[in-house]
């Protein structure tokens, strides 16, 4: 299979063009299902009452913030190894969405923390590393745009993303290493102690966010392609139509 075909911006532009709307449709459908399960099916929590329902945003957003960073770093690695433009553009396309989810995770965590544990903010291990993740995203975007030559920005930010990967295990394992605010993980690969409906609500919202992220990244990648390839023939003809 000629993967090089998909690495061409022109091909990617068309492909992303018809795919993106469908990803948003999937996101909306899964989101409605998730919110239904989260608010109608899932019962009131014995200790926290109704406010626990923030987890249907907070946990999926946190998962996405880490997952998107990982994918972004992978695209960065690919772009450095194979010196491809398209991979670098995908990394740039993912960063703002990742930053958005990181902010949402921090914000919703803060508003969950106040009624439940009495404080809007605490410097526990996981919250602090999530904040560091937000700054890594911002640093990535800043570095990528800090040079006249966009290729230099591509390479520098890709390397930065790879260096910052070490933060992900810290976020993930911090709840095991420190006994602070965040409880030990409730959702493991082997099973969960959580009520089934709550789990399903979280999973549906997570997949909804995932579909949204793909859609948003594809749309942004198309804009980046237009910006970067604006001197090529095919882009010129595109704008003429």
């Amino acid at each position: 299979m000629n993967w090089g075909y998909f690495a061409s911006p022109a091909t990617f532009y068309r492909l992303a063009g018809w795919m993106a709307p469908w990803w948003f449709v999937i996101a909306v459908v899964l989101g409605i299902a998730g919110l239904y399960v989260g608010f109608v099916v899932a019962p009131t929590d014995a200790q926290q009452g109704e406010v626990y329902r923030v987890i249907f945003i907070h946990v999926p957003a946190a998962w996405m913030s880490m997952f998107i960073y990982f994918v972004m770093a992978c695209y960065g690695g690919v772009s450095l190894t194979f010196n491809t433009r398209m991979a670098a553009m995908m990394a740039r396309a993912l960063a703002p969405t990742g930053a958005m989810f990181t902010f949402v995770a921090l914000w919703t965590g803060s508003f969950w923390g106040r009624p439940t544990w009495g404080t809007y903010w605490v410097w526990d291990a996981r919250i602090t590393s999530e904040l560091v993740l937000l700054f890594l995203y911002i640093g990535f975007i800043a570095l990528a745009n800090a040079f006249e030559d966009p290729r230099r920005g591509d390479r520098a930010s890709a390397l930065l993303a790879l260096i910052g990967l070490v933060n992900l295990p810290i976020i993930y394992f911090s709840v095991h290493w420190w006994n602070t605010l965040h409880q030990g993980s409730t959702v493991k690969l082997t099973g969960t102690s959580m009520h089934v409906a709550m789990l399903w609500g979280m999973l549906l919202m997570a997949f909804s966010f995932w579909a949204y992220a793909i859609g948003a990244a594809l749309v942004r990648a198309r804009a980046i392609i237009l910006e970067r390839e604006r001197r090529t023939q095919w882009v010129r003809e595109l704008a003429a139509t």
């Binding site: 570095l143 390397l159 790879l162």
Partner: protein, 238 residues
């Protein structure tokens, strides 16, 4: 002068990591010795800022002793950060960096040598001064010892991380602010464990988990970051 020194490297008979390291280390130490202003500034900044806190907060010994480890660590971190631009800027500007890249020595050798020399002229003096600063905060001797140990392990990690960020941002718009945005988030884990070690000692707990993780971080940094620095320099010179 720099060109002459670079030329000497190119004629060296055995081009290896070790010889490249030794050459760059000696060169940068000699340069720092001849122009001690940079090192003096780093040390002076550290002492000044660390002394500002007791002045601002008032000499209430309990509060000072409580915040001492963290504050001293933050001051050391900021001082180390301020010394970062000088690591590659001079060589980048006068072309020595390109010449060194063309030398037969493997790049990781001389890059590591530069970073080691940078640590000797910034992190090491900070570590050695930290007990004196700690006395200002009324820290006990055992806490001072752990603090110095944590700084001794942590400041090389800061130099390595800082070198990678500096190389990435060479010649970028946004200068110092961009470097701060890149480096300070990466410094945070070092700060958390370094200050945590001293604080643990101060509250009677064992500092060894913190120091062990710092040590592991140092090993990881020494193994992985020199290649990242080299990659970043190559990106900058393309």
């Amino acid at each position: 002068m720099n060109a002459l020194l670079a030329g000497h490297a190119m004629r060296a008979p055995h081009a290896s990591f070790g010889s490249g390291f030794a050459w760059a280390f000696r060169r940068d130490i000699a340069l720092a010795w001849r122009h001690p202003g940079e090192t003096m500034l780093v040390v002076a900044f550290f002492v000044l800022v660390a002394s500002l806190f007791p002045l601002g907060i008032g000499a209430e010994s309990q509060i000072l002793a409580r915040i001492g480890p963290g504050v001293i660590w933050v001051c050391a971190l900021l001082s180390a950060f301020l010394s970062l631009p000088g690591l590659f800027a001079g060589d980048y500007a006068d072309g020595s960096l390109e010449q060194m890249t063309l030398s037969p020595h493997p790049m990781s050798g001389w890059a590591s040598g530069k970073i080691a020399a940078h640590w000797v002229s910034s992190g090491l003096p900070l570590t050695m001064l930290s007990p004196l600063i700690g006395l200002q905060y009324g820290l006990t001797l055992d806490t001072l010892g752990v603090l110095a140990a944590a700084l001794a392990i942590g400041t090389p990690v800061l130099s390595l991380l800082g070198a990678a960020c500096t190389a990435l941002a060479l010649g970028a718009r946004g200068g110092g602010m961009l470097l701060a945005l890149l480096a300070l988030p990466l410094f945070v884990p070092v700060l958390v464990f370094g200050a945590g070690a001293a604080e643990a000692q101060a509250t009677g707990l064992s500092p060894s988990p913190h120091l062990s993780i710092l040590g592991a971080g140092l090993i990881l940094a020494v193994l992985a970051l020199p290649s990242a620095v080299c990659a970043a320099i190559r990106i900058a010179l393309d």
